[in-house]
Symmetry: C2
Subunit: 515 residues, 2 copies
Amino acid sequence: MTEGRAAGRRGRGGGGAARRAARATAGIDCARFIERAIPNFELLNAEALEIIEHNAETVLEEIGVNFAENPAALARWRDAGADVQGERVRIPRGLARQLCATAPARFTQHARNPERNVEIGGKSLVLAPVYGPPFVRDLDGGRRYGTIEDFRRFVRLGYMSKWLHHSGGTVCEPTDVPVSKRHLDMLLAHMTLSDKPFMGSVTDPARARDSVEMCEILFGADFVAENTVMTSLININSPLTFDATMMGALEVYAQANQACIVSPFIVGGAMAPVSVAGTLTQVLAEVMAGVAYSQLVRPGAPVIFGAFVTSIDMNSGAPTFGTPEASQILYGAGQLARRLGLPFRSGGALCGAKLPDAQAAYETAHTLNAAMMGGVNFMLHSCGWLEGGLVASFEKFVMDADQLGALHKMAAGVATDPDAQAMDALREVGPGGHFLGCAHTQAHFRDAFWRSEVLDYKPFETWDEQGARDTAMLATERVQALLAQYEAPAMDPATREALEGFVARRKAELPDSAY
Amino acid sequence: MTEGRAAGRRGRGGGGAARRAARATAGIDCARFIERAIPNFELLNAEALEIIEHNAETVLEEIGVNFAENPAALARWRDAGADVQGERVRIPRGLARQLCATAPARFTQHARNPERNVEIGGKSLVLAPVYGPPFVRDLDGGRRYGTIEDFRRFVRLGYMSKWLHHSGGTVCEPTDVPVSKRHLDMLLAHMTLSDKPFMGSVTDPARARDSVEMCEILFGADFVAENTVMTSLININSPLTFDATMMGALEVYAQANQACIVSPFIVGGAMAPVSVAGTLTQVLAEVMAGVAYSQLVRPGAPVIFGAFVTSIDMNSGAPTFGTPEASQILYGAGQLARRLGLPFRSGGALCGAKLPDAQAAYETAHTLNAAMMGGVNFMLHSCGWLEGGLVASFEKFVMDADQLGALHKMAAGVATDPDAQAMDALREVGPGGHFLGCAHTQAHFRDAFWRSEVLDYKPFETWDEQGARDTAMLATERVQALLAQYEAPAMDPATREALEGFVARRKAELPDSAY
């Protein structure tokens, strides 16, 4: 939204937090976002980081970045002291980093249910689902184009997923709705079917404005003017290019003090050099330019250092996921983000597999582990991603979402208080004894260990008698069970009516179009 | 072997290394063991480690450990200054740690092909296959008891696996051979079908002696007297009990200067407290007692700090794998091992899954990641483990063995030399360009990224046309291909004859028995 548009809307603040709290349902069990009590893994040493930082400044100064079809952006850069030639912006050494300094190191994204607010930055980790697939897949229906009803099913599953903190954005493309109107149906689904935080539309500046206006209805305009209620995904057109559509959306959100992830989208070897150090150099240069630009639009606008980086398979040309190079880039990018003082987005349940099989799980687990240890603050694609992001899988959504529980436990660290030391148990049991019956075990066994709600822990014989089901089959049952249990979170009918009215009006105003 | 038995055998040293090198085949592509160029992940802070170390000493001092049915062990402990009451050995604070100091921080295990020698300790990581399952499984034959022919197929697969450095030990139980004679057939398979290093028998002291004697035939007695040619697995009967069988085998190996892994085998909540700190305390106490005992038998004998720890599912009572608690224990145990100055064994392709499906891969990948980052030096069960270790899976063997390639790449760290910085590529390509064709990419694309030889990287349509195979089906094909390509490494016919003669003689001497 522009400042003018914001002022033009009725204020809905005043007791908003209390009202939103009253609306909250107690029906679902949802974990708070993760605050890590464990160290980050620091893969690169200081010398390597300094080389990359020096080179990124060289890239910005000598090569520069393009801000395409965006005279306003070029003017902002010129005013800030950059050397602008045509669409090429060369940024003097140190300027981009200096501009980044006004971005907050940590910020709160508000949800309509304040219990679901998330904080992004520092040692937090916020988990959001898959974003962007045109296809969906499940065991019964196979692979097919996504629809708005698929979209709603994913939003419901996300709401029901205990370890998921965020409802996400384009959980799948609702291809049965014209592109020009999709954002309205998607936002309405996130706002009404869930009470977790969500993302705004970025495919056009006008759609970003619609996103802000719908938030003003949901939260009240005064509240939105003063608080961040959306985190949206701004991809950089790597290498080194910022296109007018994405920058237009970023401008809308930054002006409205809404958060953006500024994220290179890189398949290494194609959109970046084949080396990890070279790719990290490009990532840092791109993010610094994009974040600096957000701060030129509005100093202090919340923004996230994004790194979506994978590598190309040099045989097939396909992007690959869960590779060691991708993990190295994630670890390095996290270190660079922390040195820049910015929240960090990377990771996800990424895989190239076509099915929710062993390949999917190996690749996913490698990336989840790197994201956990590498200091990611906002993890998009935390569950449901399949086939290089072409497919949103219902089974994989619940499989991955279950795995996210393990990250919560890992992040909590190791307690060493006297009770956790368990010396009484060791004394009670002694050599050759058994701990199951001892007092310490009895006092703690319910919450001692993380437990999957999808995977199979039965004895072989029981498992065999019950149909010898693999993980995907068990996941199908969970999808069905969660959707059957689903109840929408309570919502003020007037708010719902206002949102539906907005959507109807905008749909009538907008042409049907496929772009 | 005892010293007397060693002296009784003909010397076969003298130019042995040269002779073994000449025997080596160049036919297979095998990676050198891993030397990490990256930091270890230090989960616990110094205060937590000190608490655990203090408590472990308290356990040894106040509670003590049992050395069951082993008067010689009790005498050794009494002589060393421990308080021995019945079978209970209470070790004064500091004594166990002091005794551990004579164990080497790093040692070489020799293979009959010197190119396959491994170093265990420091920042090394040596990968060995699954150990111990009574059952085997493949897609065609399903789940069934293992046979000696299954065993040989696994040894062949291990030999053919590029990323596997070690042939292992009981890759599956050959249940068609009497227990009393199995060790002979198993060792003969490792010695003749592979030229990678291997493990000795531990199920009876006499079988450990047979293992040493067969090594004297393979390597020469002089060579064995001076070098470590076996690393064998000595499990502690947790909690805090050292049984006579395992200690008898340890005594044989330590006296022969052969390496032992001294390894608590713990399902947390059953054989140890339900807390991570309590379990680590017990692990440290047990390992310190076992390693100290090995040094009482022979100061300087090579020994590894083992930690095989998982947690119990409190609903079903089943052991679970790949859990966050297991990873926390692995990280903590690695730190404790390094502070004790000992090589560290943990990790593996551990899972509770019944099939090589997504569950298997999630659980496996979590453990492989923890082992990589947690400083494991010797990873048993690196591939092929299924169903909580009850089953050795042919498909999972090649799936996991393929994943181990990623660990090699991860461990190599991130190069930052001028070529890796890729500034020329960034300058050549510039904003909006493409890196595939640039000079830097062309020079490096072959070795830039790790590439799976099992997983699917094809476009969806191609994959679909080719049968829409999942990972397990692709793995079946790889098993068949590797076995079809297999050629035994060259071996001196006289050595082979001597080994076969020894096996035949011992089989004739030994009764058939099932224990």
